[in-house]
Amino acid sequence: METIITYNAVHHNPWGTPITIYFWLVGASAGSFVLSAFGWVFGIKRYKPLALTASILAIAMLMIVPVLLIWDLGKPFRFIYLMLPGFWHGTAPMAWGSLLILSYPISMFVYTYFVIKNDQKWAKIIGIIAIVLALSTHWYTGVVMELNPGRYINHTPLAPLLFLTGAFISGIGLMILVLWIQNQFMREEKKIKWALMEEMGQYMMYGIVFDCFLLFLDFMQTQYGTASENIGHHTVLMEIFFTPYVWLEAVIGLIIPLLILVSPLKRTRLGVYSASLLVAGGVYGMRIWWVMGGLYMQSFY
């Protein structure tokens, strides 16, 4: 016997575009910072020339985050409550995130200071702390929505991995583009070598393959999972969020760049730059369907 719902109260999606942009910025920042740490923390010397640009890019992107987050609050002035001992609530993921978002840029500033001072010892020590904070900050963006069992699309342990992989590839993509622009204004001997950017393109390719694997795992979960997961995938993501889910993330952000990076085009500047642009933009599609798509179905309940 069929039952048709004829009346229900209407509900808003509580989070929207500012949160999607915030997720993208934090991810790209963490990804850029990982590249910065390659030279100073992991000892891969050929990456040292780009460390400063990478950490400045990471800081610049993270500076936009508080503007979005604080003004997205109903009471912006009360953002300080997130850090006050009498208010701070240890079981809330957002409380962890507020500390991470505060400490991550501080550690990056200190790290960048030692990079400028050319102090290898302290740059490495602070760099290790900063990289842990960078990854934790982005891990938190995954879990802040994952730890809501009522949100079927978001409630997957793959969430932090999806976010971190997206961060890694979008960070590299953005970094390659920034280095390309930077090279236009540099003397020949100061320019970042093409071979290095080509190598970064290959790292990006590995990240894309892993991201595709994670998406495949998520897809399998929705096919064999509960009715809510299945309907969430088929009618919310594949219909209403088709553009960000399929076109922006899968096709523009993953499939086309992957095809470029496994073809002979990976050795050409046009190939690597266009793949970088597509990946950096495409990852934003994931942030849209994750936030708005994840919250969509329940707004009808």
Binding site: A9, V10, G16, Y301
Partner: protein, 292 residues
């Protein structure tokens, strides 16, 4: 007690994390206020919704309680069914453990409450609540002294209960479908109903242990996925109109059947527009801080 309550008794330690979430259901010596809604008696008159709106001055477009309506079957073998909804005042509320500023907390007697002076309006609790029981108060209120831009919810009318009255919705229910009381007291009507009748709760699989019990609940109206799949065309149109015409606050509303990316952009412009009225709030807070 029903099987479910025996189960509650044996598992009440499982989710006692979060600063303020001790489960009190089935604990001897503790009160645990609950509601039983007998759907066989509900006639869908919406008196409860009106009483609640009047009690708290609940703004347009948001609800502390509402009544879902569904049409079951095909003519001539059809009937209309109703399901009142409100905060489930869970024993293990996700909203409480996920609130970053302890703005929402669980009272020892079972009320899940909101402290406006602590709420920062981050809407994490709205994301966490699986029952859509929380709403964000708009910037414009008819009475300027009422809270704005913070999250609000049903309180089980604690101010009335503490005076020995029942919640406004229970008082107004013409069919006597809503029954309120202390489920830990075996002599209370709610305890007797839960013990005697077959009761069900919303989304029991989430482990929230809701304190709103339904008698005669129809799974199709109670199930979120079924709800979503079987919306009437009229309901879809209503939702789309509501979401399309909403301006001024930072919500992530997408209109079904229209360009998603257009609404992502529109959402950003709504966010930017909302900064204007939040800015005045920030200035007022700064003045208060500096000059008292």
């Amino acid at each position: 007690m029903t099987t479910e309550n025996k189960h509650e008794g044996s598992t009440h330690h499982l989710r006692e994390y979060g600063a303020q979430t001790p489960g009190t259901k089935g604990i001897p010596g503790k009160k645990r206020y609950s509601m039983v809604i007998d759907l066989r008696k509900c006639i869908g008159c919406m008196s409860c919704v009106v009483a609640c709106k009047a009690e708290y001055g609940v703004p347009l477009g948001v609800w502390r309680t509402w009544v879902m309506v569904a049409d079951k079957g095909r003519y001539p073998d059809s009937r209309r069914i109703f399901m009142p909804r409100l905060c489930n005042h869970c024993d293990y509320p996700i909203c409480v453990r996920n609130c970053p500023t302890q703005a929402t907390f669980k009272h020892e007697e079972g009320f899940v409450l909101q402290r406006y002076n602590r709420c920062i309006g981050c809407r994490t609790c709205v994301v966490a609540c699986p029952y859509n029981a929380r709403h964000f108060l708009p910037a414009k209120r008819t009475n300027n002294n009422l809270p704005k831009l913070v999250v609000d919810k049903c309180t089980f009318c604690i101010h009335r209960v503490k005076k020995g009255l029942v919640p406004a919705c229970v008082q107004a229910c013409v069919g006597g479908a809503r029954v309120f009381g202390d489920i830990n007291n075996p002599k209370s009507e709610v305890a007797k109903l839960v013990a005697k009748e077959r009761v069900s709760v919303l989304k029991p699989e989430l482990g929230t242990s809701p304190s709103v019990y339904y008698i005669g609940g129809d799974w199709e109206i109670m199930d979120e996925t079924h709800n979503y799949k079987n919306r009437s065309a009229q309901q879809k149109a209503e939702f789309n109109t509501f979401k399309r015409n909403h301006h001024g606050d930072a919500f992530g509303d997408i209109v079904e059947g229209e360009n998603t990316m257009h609404h992502v952009g529109k959402n950003m412009s709504d966010f930017l527009a909302s900064i204007q009225h939040k800015y005045h709030d920030v200035v007022a807070a700064l003045k208060q801080l500096l000059f008292g």
